[in-house]
């Protein structure tokens, strides 16, 4: 089944075709489950003018924050963008355009993009700055606003395990936005910790079917922790 083998062997190959001014969706929540090596490859490539859709934008020296110093990002659509000094500087100076979107709406917009749903109604954001310029409509006596789907030229995904056909399994809360991102990219690139042969993953346990995946690369990950919070062993 060579036509279904999604494995590539270099990050250059994984991100081939990415050019200036493209749109990228990235999985991850904070620094958890982020496609850290794919992001580094974009930094290395020096692609500029990017529109980025991601729940957060990393920290100064890790994750999507790495794309800030060389001003590779033109615009970001995110729900929460704290913890990043260079980000704040570029946002305040107007160098970086920021579109804040409620977290659940952002997730649903990605899902809708992948699922061929061009728009949906939600109560989230009614009566707030998020509703500005959007259609409002009542259903069963309650107000809802119309939110449109998001798709991107590239979707960057971090999974735990995959088979060669791109069937993916995520691990714990590193799942977050990743399965949604996977569905919404014209080209979906996935990096994983382990690649197995087709048939080795239980079909009932696959989170993302390989049909959504174009390229797959195996790597190692730093997995930096943003808020290491512990209790004493006896507690």
């Amino acid at each position: 089944m060579s036509g279904f083998d999604k494995v590539v062997h270099s990050y250059e190959e994984a991100m081939a075709g990415l050019t200036d001014n493209m749109t990228i969706i990235s999985g991850g929540f904070g620094l958890c489950g982020i496609p850290e090596n794919l992001i580094s490859e974009i930094k290395h490539k020096g692609t500029r003018g990017l529109t980025l859709i991601s729940n957060n934008c990393g920290v100064d020296d890790f994750g999507l924050g790495l794309l800030l110093p060389a001003r590779q990002i033109r615009k970001i659509i995110a729900s929460y963008v704290g913890e990043n000094a260079e980000f704040e500087r570029q946002m305040m100076s107007g160098e970086l355009s920021v579109e804040l979107t409620p977290q659940g709406t952002l997730a649903e917009k990605m899902r809708a993009g992948g699922a061929g749903i061009p728009a949906f109604y939600t109560a989230t954001g009614v009566g707030t700055p998020v509703a500005e310029g959007k259609d409002e409509r009542q259903f069963n006596g309650r107000s809802y606003i119309l939110e449109e789907a998001i798709v991107a030229d590239f979707a960057l995904v971090k999974a735990w395990k995959a088979d060669r056909y791109g069937n993916l399994i995520f691990r714990k809360t590193a799942r977050n936005f990743n399965p949604l991102a996977a569905t919404a990219g014209k080209i979906t690139v996935v990096e994983v910790e382990e690649i197995v042969e087709p048939g080795q993953l239980d079909p009932d346990e696959i989170h993302t079917p390989g049909i959504y995946v174009n390229r797959l690369i195996q790597s190692t990950f730093e997995k930096r922790i943003e808020q290491r919070t512990t209790r004493a062993a006896g507690e």
């Binding site: 659940g104 714990k172 062993a233």
Partner: protein, 218 residues
């Protein structure tokens, strides 16, 4: 005496019922988990994709792939489940979470809430707060009753950009437990040693005082 942050959390915890699925926001709401009454079990939902959040991990248990919505390392209880962000907010937006507790800058008599943005100051974003206030039927807002300088936060109209419109029914401050209905604040309980007059003075929106207002019991 105004309640401490832990006392606010402790009073909120008395609103929990056995079998509640609960989402606790960052700050005071997070502390509610430390005061769950005896004989009551709740399951904590963390909107980044976890139902059944447990305690913080020991050093040995720390797992970079297991965090809460505040990006802190956590653990899972037995019976926990993991899901993606769309499923997590389907749960929230669809009204399946029994109680949401979150902070705010301002609340008004119409149940409006402002909690994510102070114009001119740094804007970090609403995260999941707009989804949480729009999705839950049962929300408790926790905040200080007034600013350090005595400026009211319980208003006739919110002055800051809203997080949600007409969605708040209960507010627990360091001074009072207040219900919002029919366009008015209703004083339900006062903090031990805090007078009704003191609460009236620090509340800008219309406040209904009906009969004797009991002190909070813990």
């Amino acid at each position: 005496m105004a309640l401490t942050r832990d006392q606010i959390a402790q009073r909120v915890a008395l609103e929990l019922q056995d079998g509640f699925y609960v989402n606790l926001g960052i700050g005071i709401p997070t502390r509610v988990a430390n005061f769950i009454p005896q004989g009551i079990d709740v399951m904590l939902q963390s909107e980044n994709g976890l139902l059944g959040m447990g305690a913080f991990p020991t050093e040995a248990e720390v797992d970079a792939d297991l965090i809460n919505a505040g990006k802190q390392t956590v653990t899972m209880v037995a019976g926990a489940s993991i899901f993606d962000s769309a499923e997590s907010f389907a749960m929230i937006r669809g009204g399946h979470v029994d109680l949401t507790v979150l902070g705010a800058f301002e609340v008004d008599v119409n149940g409006n809430i402002a909690s994510y943005m102070i114009p001119g100051k740094l804007i970090k974003g609403m995260g999941g707060a707009m989804d949480l206030v729009a999705g839950a039927d049962n929300i408790i807002v926790t905040m200080t009753h007034a600013s350090k300088h005595g400026a009211a936060k319980l208003l006739s109209h919110c002055t800051l950009p809203l997080t949600g419109k007409g969605c708040i029914k209960k507010v627990l401050t360091d001074l009072a437990f207040i219900e919002i209905k029919a366009g008015k604040f209703h004083l339900l309980e006062r903090a031990p040693g805090v007078s009704v007059d003191e609460i009236i003075k620090l509340t800008q929106g219309e406040l209904v005082i009906s009969g004797e207002i009991p002190e909070m019991q813990f």
